[in-house]
Point group: C2
Chain length 444, copies 2
């Protein structure tokens, strides 16, 4: 019998846990699921004969090391900043480990030690990062094998509400960590186009969008991600003239979101005075000039150069942003207040389902011909537990876990899923869950 | 004989050193001036019989403590972050100390210890902070004594080029630390008006200006400083409905500076790729959309919504911003590159003189009458050594030093110059150097 240790039983772990429990009989696995909330872990195990839930606190080092020692493989679904302690124990006890998070410099530094101990620490095998890496590398490797030269790579992902449930004026609901949505894009965004580096400051980001269509899902807009440049090296495209990564939203979202950015409402660096007793309307007004004779709505429209009867203003009114509703949050930052306001309106209803869309665009030359491949994926959630997010994060992790346990993946060291030995079998099996890329060759 | 130890012989210390040497015979002082550059210190002492220059490195703790031990008073003109080591030694050896810098939390924490040892650590007695505190408190205390209630306090300072030498289209030259000018205002600016808190994000700061006139010096514009709120407590105006502090520039400056902010050129948080080989023009273009058919100038004007034939564009062209001049700086941030470009154009010529302007506006009610006092000061530099900046920073420090040595200031503990016992004699003597506030009572 092989022992799988899963750390973290949150929403993103649901599909992962289900997959491993569903296959536990077939492969003779036993699964231990640890979480700060034993109830959450128990609910996910749901009395499965091959599963056990237990209380887990990563800060209890003895507990962490004891559990890792007993396992054959460790899956960490903890918040990204907590992976290192687990990785440290895995290397010490010679256990393989899988995570869906970005590899940290701390974990990267374990590479040589992991190799020496014959241990694989496989990171970034969720959806973004994860499926994006694997699906991109599959096409990149194929084009290179054919002798083609890639001149441009664009890749975008979006977590959205599925079309059937897409019924608010923003065409957006929180399907994932709301805080990350509010803070998205802060800093500078970098990419390269035809050999020219481009830098976009945060306050211009949501005006620098591009448009695309994805399969039968219609139109999306894309705003640039923070650092597109580092992917050149990761994907072995060091000298590619154009590289761009972005986030997808439905058309019109960015123009309206930009209002919050322009006002300063996404700032998480300072506390709003007496935020508890302030109203939504006063919150808006605190970013506008002092002028008591002009309504807040008019001041905002004039300040930001939009028409008061525009669709943007309608979206803001729909959020109750101009209403005298008490905020009620003590010592809150603007970003926390904005999140609080949005959470009341952008919540998924019980029946709502989410959706993940991803699209790559490869431009390359082959035998002196310019070619363009568009590779697109869209998947909707099954229910509020097995959301598209949970499935796309969890299945790749679970499949990788199986491939390691069954000896199909034999890598060692600190790795990303960039090699065919990993991405081929994972992408192959993901298709059975409806996670499938459709390729179109289009006019260049 | 009393021994004065001055640490730091930089530009800002020139007038201070001159004052103390000029009065050294009269008061029987001996002055030791320490600097990392002995040559600089020697030049400032200029063979004065009562002065001595020596090599001083604040990181040499033994040296620092030895020198402090020998002194009767210590004046630290070192960079603000280095004052603490000196203050620590002053408290240990029971020596008084004077600085022109903002008091740090570390130094503030020495308060009780300093009191117990009968030591005065007097901070923020330069120009801004310094003369601003003293000149404001003088009026505030007077209004309070008369029984008036202050309802609004606005205070602004500017370091500019004197009118006679103000001959470039920006009406601005670097008269002080250029890096601080480039980074000015980053973060959020906070103030309060009629009881309403107002927050301005950095990218809107240079559009939220107000105008004023100062004496015979004509018109200035004011952009808000970072934190106006903390001054309510410092000035004993905790419940004042309106409090605003700002920075003065000549009209038109902010609108043009805003272009750099909007493009992202003042960002100091990331490195521009291959900055060394980039040209000014390419630097500008890196913040604009990829589009090879439209000239950079047109792209910029369209992007930021200004007319190509506007005065703003003229100011940018005057800086050579669109010329193919090599930057030549390795691994530079946008802010470093911008500073490099500006330094070539905003430099003070040999004959140029600088100017400091400061203006307070007090609104108050007295016997049911609303009143407004405008209190303004302007001083020009004497030459490139005794600049307005050097005089306004140095003379208050020097005068305070004299007042402590002669027993006129008897305070102990970590202090700011907010009490009449300090500000009255300092402001009185500053008048003899032409640093004088003119009050006007104006219509409310």
């Amino acid at each position: 019998m092989q022992h799988i240790l899963i750390l973290g039983a949150g929403l993103s772990a649901s599909s992962l846990i289900k997959y491993l429990l569903d296959h536990s009989e077939q492969y003779d696995w036993h699964i231990r699921l640890g979480d700060l909330s034993v109830e959450t872990a128990q609910a996910k195990i749901n009395n499965h004969p091959r599963g056990a839930a237990f209380y887990f606190d990563v800060n209890d080092e003895n507990l962490c090391r004891e559990e890792v020692k007993k396992a054959d493989i460790v899956v960490s679904m903890l918040p990204a900043s907590l992976h290192f302690k687990v990785a440290r124990a895995c290397v010490d006890f010679g256990k393989n480990m899988v995570t869906a998070s970005y590899v940290s410099p701390q974990i990267e530094a374990l590479n040589e030690e992991a190799k020496a101990k014959n241990v694989l620490i496989l990171n970034e095998i969720g959806v973004d990062p994860g499926i994006d890496h694997m699906s991109a590398m599959q096409v990149i490797d194929r084009i290179k094998t054919l002798g083609g030269e890639i001149t441009s790579f664009q890749s975008s992902t979006g977590g959205l509400v599925a079309p059937k449930y897409d019924n608010n004026p923003w065409n957006y609901k929180f399907t994932w960590n709301p805080r990350n949505v509010v803070l998205a894009g802060q800093g500078v965004s970098k990419f390269i186009r035809n050999g020219k580096y481009k830098y976009i400051p945060y306050h211009k980001l949501f005006k620098r969008i591009v448009r695309t269509e994805v399969l039968d899902y219609g139109e999306f807009e894309i705003y640039p991600n923070r650092d597109s440049l580092k992917y050149r090296e990761i994907y072995g495209l060091d000298h590619i003239p154009s590289m761009f990564r972005g986030t997808m939203r439905r058309p019109g979202y960015s123009r309206s979101w930009n209002i919050f950015v322009q006002l300063g409402m996404t700032d998480d660096s300072f506390i709003i005075e007496d935020s508890e007793n302030m109203t939504y309307r006063e919150f808006v007004n605190s970013f506008l000039e002092y002028e008591t004779k002009i309504p807040v709505e008019t001041k905002l429209a004039n300040y930001l150069g939009i028409e008061e009867e525009s669709e943007i203003m309608y979206k803001l009114r729909w959020l109750d942003l101009f209403k005298p509703i008490k905020i009620g949050l003590k010592r809150a930052t603007p970003a926390q207040i904005l999140q609080h306001i949005l959470l009341k309106k952008w919540v998924l209803d019980k029946e709502d389902k989410d959706m993940i869309v991803m699209q790559h665009r490869f431009e390359y030359t082959l035998k002196n011909q310019n070619k363009v491949i568009l590779s697109s994926m869209a998947i909707e959630g099954t229910d509020q537990t097995h959301t598209a997010m949970s499935k796309t994060v969890g299945y790749p992790v679970a499949i990788a876990c199986k491939l390691i346990l069954t000896g199909k993946i034999k890598d060692v060291g600190v790795k990303l899923p960039l090699d065919a030995s990993i991405y081929e079998p994972v992408l192959e099996e993901l298709q059975s869950f409806g996670i499938q890329f459709i390729e179109e060759e289009i006019e260049s």
